[in-house]
């Protein structure tokens, strides 16, 4: 086999192994680099810095996030917690105490998930905006909340 054929085989092998390794690696990168988006003026730049980064997630994502160990915050009033809650979730009727707890556990920049009783409860969203005003930067609101978690038959924790 001449050197040209060998070179082609080596290149093909490298592309193959590199692609497989990249797709399996935690440090994998996309095939094409995305340029950082440009902000054209200082007003937009400041808006961007203050931009709320609240996003909604649904049951499948919430389940996966829970599995990955992200903090869950229960926005329901404490009296409802006797029915059970998402394992590991923290809750309190005293919002500032809840905020302190989150800050102690994960600080302001690590994301967390807030949920309430169901699709329309609204308190998770309200709490998310409140926490954002306080300075928490990355908040996910779990749409469907407690009801969809329970309906999906996922693990539940009860107070002792």
């Amino acid at each position: 086999m001449d050197y040209q054929k060998q070179s082609i085989i080596l290149i093909a092998l490298s592309i193959l192994i590199g692609s497989i390794f990249n797709s399996l690696s935690d440090d994998g990168i996309p095939w094409v680099a995305e340029p950082i988006k440009i902000v054209n003026n200082s007003e937009d730049a400041l808006d961007f810095l203050a931009e709320p980064s609240i996003r909604e997630v649904e049951i499948e994502t919430a389940k996966a996030l829970h599995g990955s160990g992200i903090l869950f915050v229960d926005a329901r009033a404490e009296e409802y917690l006797s029915d059970g809650f998402i394992p590991g979730a923290i809750a309190s009727d005293d919002i500032s105490m809840l905020a302190d707890q989150i800050e102690t556990k994960i600080g302001f920049d690590t994301g967390f998930v807030i949920y309430c009783s169901d699709d329309d409860c609204g308190s998770s969203e309200e709490l998310a905006y409140h926490f954002q005003d306080i300075g928490f930067n990355n908040i996910l609101v779990f749409r469907g909340g407690w009801k969809s978690w329970k309906d999906a038959g996922l693990e539940i924790e009860y107070h002792e």
């Binding site: 050197y3 490298s14 590199g18 440090d27 990168i29």
Partner: protein, 149 residues
């Protein structure tokens, strides 16, 4: 190149192969950093630095082993020469354009582009040349060294 002692060729192969294997290691583990190093050369368009960063270190690793073990030795050493020419041109154009950037060569952390890097690559290129045109080879696993030539 027939007069060069086969043991010396083997030694050169070992050293050159080692350089490529060593150079590939950090790039394989952190392709994101390597992609940024490539982007700093301002020569690769359309964000393709990522694609290069995904497979180029593996070429280096494969040819490193190929050169040492004598697997596809001709192809490995041909590619090593090609890569070294490419690296020399990349570094040279960056210097001519006045970029004071990290080499991204993978041999020494934080090393900047400069004449010493070009010289280093020329030495490696010379080694590739010697191996490519050497006839008295020993230790070739695949294809096997011909018994009579």
């Amino acid at each position: 190149m027939n007069r060069i002692n086969p043991t010396l060729i083997l030694l050169i192969r070992f050293l050159l192969g080692l350089v490529f294997i060593y150079a590939s290691y950090d790039k394989i583990l952190d392709p994101g950093k390597f992609a940024r190093d490539i982007a700093n050369y301002h020569i690769v368009p359309f964000g393709l630095e990522n694609s290069i960063a995904i497979f180029l270190p593996w070429i280096e690793l494969l040819i490193g082993f190929g050169i040492i073990l004598g697997i596809f030795l001709d192809g490995s050493v041909f590619l090593s020469g090609g890569l070294l020419v490419l690296f020399i041109l990349m570094i040279f154009q960056a210097m001519m354009r006045g970029f004071n950037i990290e080499c991204g060569c993978g041999l020494k952390e934080g090393e900047m582009v400069g004449w010493s890097k070009i010289l280093e690559n020329i030495v490696f290129l010379g080694a590739s040349y010697i191996i490519f045109y050497s006839k008295n080879r020993v230790l070739e696993i695949y294809p096997k060294t011909p018994l009579s030539e």
